[in-house]
């Protein structure tokens, strides 16, 4: 990154913060609300597991560990990809025309003009809390190698989800409205990803591994550290693929974006 790009990134961030703090209490509440909203899902799991002990061999803390990866990656991703998530609106209200008129990279502008730090604190914060609760109790003996693996798994998980957002955002150029697709392929899949993938029937497993590969965001990385029995039905190599799939998907989505941008039709006045 050139220093002046870095400078612009900083100024974007400063302006976003300033805009948010125009409504100070709302800004803080936003982080809290996101945290609580997502935490309700966890509370449901908690009560379920109080009754059943385990889900397909996964106990409560292991489930929390699985969840923590989901929230950590989403928290980091949402800082950078909120602009892509809301890209449909940007296209419809004509703001995208303005990005085109400025001498900077389009993706760069979409990302940094819309970075949502507060939602990120909510999601990421929950991820950190769940990690702290579970990491001790799931019997992982942390060493340097595990830490490095964990870091790469998070980067890979962020990129996988980012690539899905970028792909869905690109579809907006053709369709103008894709929020139901996003609901179907992203947010529903993400709900499934809160459980071990082995729990589901074959078609959903195929979907989660090969189509919208959420299994690589949290299930396989958790398996590498936890080594549960249900891993035996999947090839061992899956434990290591997360960063590769992340980078691969992101590059593919990026080229799809680059290719599609010339078909952009401005929304008109």
């Amino acid at each position: 990154m050139r220093s002046d790009t870095l400078n612009l990134t900083w100024i974007y961030t400063k302006k976003i913060m300033k805009a948010w703090f125009q409504y100070r209490s709302d800004a803080l509440l936003r982080s809290v609300t996101v945290f609580l909203r997502e935490a309700t899902g966890i509370i449901v799991i908690y009560f379920t597991l109080l009754k059943f002990d385990s889900l397909n061999g996964w106990n409560m803390y292991e489930m929390f560990f699985l969840y923590s990866l989901l929230f950590l990656t989403y928290g980091i991703m949402i800082i950078f990809f909120t602009g892509l998530r809301d890209f449909g609106r940007t296209v419809r209200d004509g703001s995208f025309d303005r990005y085109i008129l400025r001498p900077r990279g389009l993706l760069f502008q979409i990302i940094f003009a819309n970075a949502d730090w507060f939602a990120a604190v909510g999601h990421g914060g929950l991820g950190v809390v769940l990690f702290l609760i579970s990491a001790q109790k799931v019997g992982i003996e942390w060493n340097v190698w595990y830490a490095v693996y964990y870091m790469f798994a998070i980067i890979g998980g962020v990129l996988i989800q980012g690539a899905i957002f970028l792909f869905l955002a690109t579809l907006n150029i053709y369709l103008l409205e894709t929020s139901s697709l996003k609901e179907l392929f992203y947010f529903n899949m993400r709900k499934f990803a809160g459980y071990p993938v082995s729990l589901f029937q074959k078609p959903i497993q195929i979907l989660m591994i090969y189509v919208v590969p959420f299994a690589f965001v949290n299930y396989f990385p958790s398996q590498y550290l936890l080594r549960k029995d249900d891993m035996q039905q999947y090839p061992e190599i899956f434990l290591y693929l997360t960063p590769v799939i992340g980078i691969g998907m992101y590059i593919a989505a990026y080229f799809f974006w680059r290719y599609s941008i010339r078909f952009y039709k401005s929304s008109g006045n």
């Binding site: 302006k15 125009q22 409504y23 008129l101 010339r262």
Partner: protein
Amino acid sequence: MSLIEVSNISKSFKVNKRKSGVTGMLANLLVPKYEIRQAVKDISFSIEKGEMVGFIGPNGAGKSTTIKMLSGILYPDNGKICVGGKIPYKQRKEYVGNIGVVFGQKSQLQWDLPVIDSLELLKAIYRIPDEKYHKNLERFVEILDMGSFLHQPVRQLSLGQRMRADIVAALIHSPQIVFFDEPTIGVDVVGKETIRNFIRELNAEDEITMLFTTHDMQDIEKVCERLIVIDKGEKIYDGSLLGIREKYGTTRQLDVEFARMEQIAPIENVEIVELDALDGKKKRFVFENKKVAINDLMNYILQNYQVRDISISEPEIESIIRKIYNGEVVTV
């Protein structure tokens, strides 16, 4: 070679043809029907450096589409645009640093932040050096009288203030070419005058080339020397403001107030309109100045009737344009 060269550009859009009603909605979902709407048809023109060009036409004539192609937002389907040696839609990043665009309908300012914050962001985006930024800012703020609201959040500004701020935002990086898309829309008379003066001054002093779309003919009359009229995607006039009067504004009208009520016998090629239906003293004589010599007509009236007052007028540019839009004037 001119600064802006536009040759034979066309652009069409695929428009979803919607049927009404529930069955229509279902049919539309299953078998969408599209129709091709030609927004711009084979338009060519060139603009020299420092020119100030008014770009007018009725709603949906293709003005905004043309501006969007010129500014690099849209690709033309056919034809070529070259501005200062660059192709807008292909060399976007190198090109846009040199242009400014004001969309009167769509602000580029940060809604929740004071005006100055948006300008600071633009400073970073366009990599404007400190000295140039402060010089431009000081100058614009003074001419546009913005000192009072520079530190107010945009959401609290009046439409006229917001428009002035938007114009500064489009010019803060000293672009060589500026496109204005309805820059005075919704602004009151005083505000419009301030904006026009500013634009004129900038054009005169800095030799900035400007292209202007508007529905306000006053804007055109007070600001532009040259006019391009487009209708249904085609260029129908390109020339000076004076020229359009000479070419299409050939109607003259003679308003006469008579000393008493008169019945005027029909005159060949002259239309007589009653201006005051009650007492029949005021009448308007409308005629083509090519067909009727004004001297003859005036002599005829003065010799035959008692006249108290008489005045000749040319049609306003607005009514000429309206006639062109309505197809009353056959264009060549």
